[in-house]
Each structure stands twice: as structure tokens, then as C-alpha cells.
């Protein structure tokens, strides 16, 4: 349970809101690189943290993220002409470069050198390609942090795959699904048997044979480690350890030699978010069949309405609920696919879930701790200007792990450096 004012504090991310200020401390994934595939390609509308913007890639390959609307008469620059190193409004020809600087006003007597032109600059944010993703930083330019060091974005091309999907609810209830390990044994029980990106791992047997796991939550510098333990061979536990790094990065523990995957939940506005879903392998290229499976929506990815990033299963078609499959036990909820099993239920909570009415139990303690850390960080930033956890790139050098340990060994001690990025070394997985 949260008081209404704390729920508001944590869920509202627009300009001027404390949680919005917190998100503006980080480099955030904003687009897939495939959305701006070549120089002078079509611009893309972007809504992030409640701000409306246009992303484009100019003639020299520079990326820009600027205010969506022309300074002249407020026309959307989505209709613009991306040409000759700038984005030109089609209404009267005003042109902007990737920094938002107006560089031409054709109607003025001296169109390039007019003093008026030099005085017009749209709000802009940096847009940087790292891995398959374009990242932006929307905070104070004087405090721009180092570029992100998330391993999935730093491994060589071919070792990583990222997709994104629209989720029609507030970012926090979506994130909380990534921290709530207790739902996996129920909602996703079908995935371990059938999914090509999960099946075959030794760890799956432990998952299936012990459906009442125990949980441990340990604070880390960047957020939390959530350890889930199940019985393994005599005298041993099978541990699955999920890192959460503030504000909204989680990594799912791996299975066998399958790639590791996880999510970033990024607020579009207070009632919608983007879910960036990555899969990568630290030491080898993804195979053709793995990439094919990811493109087909297997694992934690999903299928889309053609030409969009909206899931094919969505609230307009009741997520293609299959009651017969639910009855047969093919799927637990009747909804197909791990990501949509999660999204369907999280969206069903309403645009922003009312946490004053919830009835948490002890297995929700990871969620309680994550809220508490966010709340503390929001207040420390607002009241004392303290940089929040997760901005420091050291905090980003985390991995999930799946490991068998003697019963008496704490998972933090037993995992050792398995929870840290070790370039060129394989992840800890069974």
C-alpha cells in the first residue's frame, strides 16, 4: 500500500515533477536505431516523459532530437523535409539543424544570415547511438553523465538484439512486474517447456520441481539484487538473481547457454510507456535461429501490428485470449507469450494503478523496497540535489545469474563477481 501522494510522486514523470526530474538524470533509450535507418530518412515522432519531440538523422548522419513544433506557427515538424543537413518545416520553409538551431528563414531578406534566425532555437536533447538503440539525456547539459555502459549495448554487433513495444499503462506498474519474481511460477509456467529461447536448461528442472520459492532482497549501489531460491540437489539451492538498477533497468536470470535478456521501462507519459527488451550473449554472436525466434516474438519479445511497435495482442482484441488453451493448461492465463502475459495483466490494472487499495503480501517485499529506494532518491535529488543511484556507469556493470550454491552460502557471497560484467567472460548460468 502507498499513500496517494507517494503514488503520485512515483508515477508522474512530466516536466516539473520530482520523478520527472529523476528520470532526467539518466541516459534513456528513446528509439531503436532501425527507426532512423539512413541519412535524410523520414523523421520520427517521439514522446518521452510527457514531452513531444521529433527525432531525425541529417545528411551527415548526425542524430537530432528537437521540439516537435516549428517556432513560427506551431506546425509539427513530422511533416518536415529532411534535407541538406536540416529539417525544414513545409509550411514556410523554416529549417532547423540537429541542435534545434534555426538555420534558415527563407521569407526573410537575408535568409541565412538574418539576425532573427540566430535568435531562434528549439529545445533539443542529444541523441546518441549505442548498440541497437538511440539514447537521449534530457537533463541539465552541464551535468551530462558518461554514456551508458549497459553490457547489452556495448557487446560487439551480432551479439545483441533489442526490440521495443508500447505498453498502455504507467511505467511503474510495468517495472514492478520485472521485480516481482513470484509471478513467474504461475503466469509464465508454459514458457519453460516450449520456448526455444528458454527450453533445455538444467535450471528449468529446478523451476518446475519447486513451485514455492524463497526470496532474498539485498540492496546494491545501483538498486537491488533480488535472489530467488529453489531446492536443487541434496544440500544445495538453485538461485536466480535479478538485478534492478534505478530507475527502470532489470535483467532476467539466464537459462543454460541461452542469451541473457531484460527490459528498460521508459515513460512516454503517465499512462503509457515503452518497453525496450534486449537479448545478448557476452561471449558469442547470436545464432540465426535465436535472432529469428526473437523477431518472431519468442522469449521475452513479441509480435507487432504491422508497421508499428504496438503489440499484435493488445487491449483492442483482448490480447487474443484463448480460453481453451487456458483450460488445457497450455498457457496459465490464456494469453500467449511471456511479454504479453505480463502486459495484459499490468494494463488491466488501469492506466495508473491505485496503490492505496492494494493488498501486498510478504513476497512483494522486493517491490516495496524498490518503491522505497525510488522515493528516497527522488527526495534526495529534489531536496539536496543528490545524484541518484544508477547514473554512475559503475552501477550499470551488472549481470543476472542462475547458479547452484550450498545451502548455507548467501547468494551475494556465492555469486561473487558473477553479478558483475566481466568482458569476454561467460555469464553464470545453469
Amino acid at each position: 500500500m502507498l499513500k496517494q501522494e507517494i503514488n503520485d510522486l512515483l508515477t508522474q514523470t512530466g516536466p516539473g515533477k520530482p520523478m520527472g526530474a529523476l528520470f532526467r538524470q539518466y541516459w534513456l533509450p528513446v528509439l531503436l536505431a532501425e527507426e532512423l535507418p539512413e541519412n535524410d530518412c523520414a523523421p520520427v515522432r517521439v514522446k518521452l516523459l510527457g514531452e513531444l519531440m521529433i527525432a531525425f538523422r541529417d545528411t551527415e548522419g548526425r542524430y537530432g532530437l528537437i521540439d516537435e513544433f516549428c517556432a513560427h506557427r506551431g506546425v509539427s515538424l513530422w511533416f518536415g523535409r529532411n534535407e541538406e543537413s536540416g529539417l525544414r518545416c513545409p509550411y514556410h520553409g523554416w529549417k532547423y539543424d540537429v541542435s534545434g538551431q534555426c538555420v534558415e528563414i527563407p521569407s526573410e531578406p537575408d535568409e541565412r544570415g538574418s539576425s532573427l534566425c540566430a535568435k531562434i532555437k528549439l529545445t533539443s536533447y542529444p541523441l546518441v547511438k549505442l548498440g541497437d538503440v538511440l539514447w537521449t539525456y534530457m537533463g541539465d547539459p552541464a551535468k551530462t553523465p558518461d554514456l551508458p555502459e549497459w553490457e547489452f549495448a556495448r557487446v560487439p554487433a551480432g551479439q545483441s538484439f533489442t526490440s521495443k513495444r508500447l505498453q498502455e499503462c504507467n511505467w511503474l506498474q510495468a517495472l514492478e512486474g520485472g521485480i516481482d519474481s513470484s509471478h513467474v511460477s504461475w503466469l509464465h509456467s508454459d514458457g519453460l517447456r516450449n520456448d526455444p529461447l528458454f527450453k533445455g536448461a538444467q535450471g528449468n528442472k529446478y523451476n518446475m520441481s519447486d513451485r514455492k520459492p524463497f526470496f532474498e532482497v539485498v540492496e546494491s549501489d545501483g538498486g537491488l539484487f533480488i535472489g530467488v531460491r529453489r531446492n536443487a540437489e541434496e544440500g544445495h539451492y538453485y538461485w536466480r538473481v535479478t538485478p534492478w538498477v534505478m530507475p527502470s533497468f532489470t535483467m532476467i536470470p539466464p537459462r543454460g547457454d541461452h542469451p541473457i535478456h531484460g527490459h528498460f521501462w521508459i515513460p512516454i507519459d503517465d499512462e503509457n510507456c515503452w518497453v525496450f527488451t534486449y537479448d545478448y550473449h557476452p561471449t558469442r554472436p547470436l545464432t540465426d535461429s535465436e535472432v529469428q525466434a526473437m523477431r518472431e516474438g519468442k522469449g521475452v519479445h513479441n509480435q507487432f501490428v504491422p508497421g508499428t511497435y504496438r503489440p499484435l495482442q493488445n487491449k483492442d482484441n483482448d490480447y487474443m485470449m484463448d480460453r481453451e488453451a487456458q483450460k488445457r493448461g497450455d498457457t496459465y492465463s490464456g494469453v500467449k507469450g511471456i511479454s504479453m502475459q505480463d502486459a495484459s495483466l499490468q494494463e488491466s490494472m488501469g492506466p495508473i494503478v491505485d496503490r492505496t487499495k492494494e493488498r501486498l503480501v510478504s513476497t512483494d517485499t522486493g517491490i516495496i523496497m524498490a518503491r522505497r529506494k525510488l522515493w528516497r532518491a527522488v527526495e534526495a535529488l529534489r531536496d539536496q540535489g543528490v545524484t541518484p543511484p544508477g547514473v554512475d556507469t559503475v552501477h550499470q556493470a551488472v549481470r543476472s545469474a542462475a547458479i547452484v550454491l550450498p545451502k548455507e552460502q548467501p547468494f551475494i557471497e556465492g555469486c561473487g563477481d558473477a553479478l558483475t560484467v566481466r568482458p569476454g567472460e561467460k555469464h553464470a548460468s545453469v
Binding site: M1, L2, K212, F214, F215, E216, V217, V218, E219, E271, K315, D316, N317, D318, Y319, M320, D322, E324, E347, S348, G350, P351, I352, D354, K357, R359, L360, V361, S362, T363, D364, T365, I368, M369, R371, R372, R376, K407, E408, P410
Partner: protein
């Protein structure tokens, strides 16, 4: 299988944002019966301080000693108020959640006694380890086999928040 057609009025989209936010404003549950039990003196001090606040019917207790077939608890009370004792078995009668709070001196025997008694009654258990200067490895080890959820708190103030969120 032929899918049933999804009609406009039957899909999840068939609601305005305001309708989607609406919930029947009536409580969907009765009061929880939680027991918060301190396992050592450091925990007793913290739990005693919290006991004076307004809660949702939770009992705040301190483990005293093992007695044959049971355990003796005392009611935690801050501010030097008089204390009373109770048997663990009496306190667990009707309880639905047990939260064990441990400092560095938490006894594995106490955790085991409470954890086993709760498990025998099908009561959910959680273990919260207080932060402090002293190492908490012993407290973690004491609680690990006996708490379905174990949290090493990074900040003492988090104990209040966790218990509030659980509606103790």
C-alpha cells in the same frame, strides 16, 4: 479452434480512461492479523519504538525464550511502558503473517522455532534484517531457512515503510 469474435463492447478497450480508473470503493478484505517479532535486543528496541504507532491490528512482540513445546514472547512496548507476555502458539492462532526482525545477535534457534510454528500453521513468514555497524551474516543465516522472504534493510527507516506497505 474458431475464435469468438471480439466485440467492441466486450474488449478491454471498451472503456474511457476515466472508466478504466474507476474501482468500486468498498474494502475487498478484512483486517490482517500480523505478528512482528523481534529476535534480539537491538531488534526489540526498534520494534518497541514502532509499536507505539497506529497500525492495522498488528501485534509487536519480542522473543524471550523457548519453553517446552512453545516459545515465550513479550509484548514490545516503547517508552518504558509495562510489558506482558504471551505464548507463541497463542499469538499465531488466527495470524496470517509473521514478520521476524533480526539484529546481529538474532538466534537461529528462535528463528527456527517461530518459522517452524508458522509453517505448520500455513502462515506466511518474512525476515527483515536491520542494518547496523555489526555484521549481519549471523542474522541472515538464522533467518534464511525460516523466512519465505528475507530482506537485508539498507536503512532503518525502511522497516517502517515495509510494515506500512504490508498493512501490519
Amino acid at each position: 479452434m474458431d475464435r469468438q469474435p471480439t466485440l467492441l463492447g466486450s474488449c478491454a478497450r471498451a472503456a474511457t480512461a476515466a472508466e478504466a480508473r474507476f474501482r468500486i470503493n468498498a474494502p475487498a478484505f478484512t483486517q490482517r492479523c500480523s505478528r512482528v517479532i523481534a529476535l534480539d535486543e537491538q531488534a526489540a528496541e526498534v520494534v518497541g519504538d514502532l509499536a507505539g504507532r497506529t497500525w492495522h491490528g498488528g501485534h509487536f512482540l519480542v522473543f524471550e525464550s523457548e519453553v517446552p513445546g512453545d516459545a515465550l514472547l513479550r509484548l514490545a512496548a516503547g517508552g518504558g511502558q509495562p510489558t506482558a507476555t504471551a505464548l507463541l502458539s497463542e499469538e499465531l492462532d488466527g495470524a496470517d503473517t509473521v514478520v521476524m526482525v533480526a539484529g546481529p545477535a538474532a538466534s537461529p534457534a528462535a528463528a527456527s522455532l517461530i518459522g517452524d510454528a508458522a509453517a505448520a500453521r500455513g502462515i506466511m513468514t518474512a525476515g527483515l534484517v536491520l542494518p547496523g555497524a555489526a555484521p549481519v551474516d549471523g542474522a541472515v543465516a538464522a533467518l534464511r531457512p525460516n523466512a519465505m522472504v528475507l530482506v537485508v534493510l539498507g536503512n532503518s527507516a525502511d522497516l517502517l515503510e515495509v510494515l506500512s506497505a504490508l498493512r501490519v
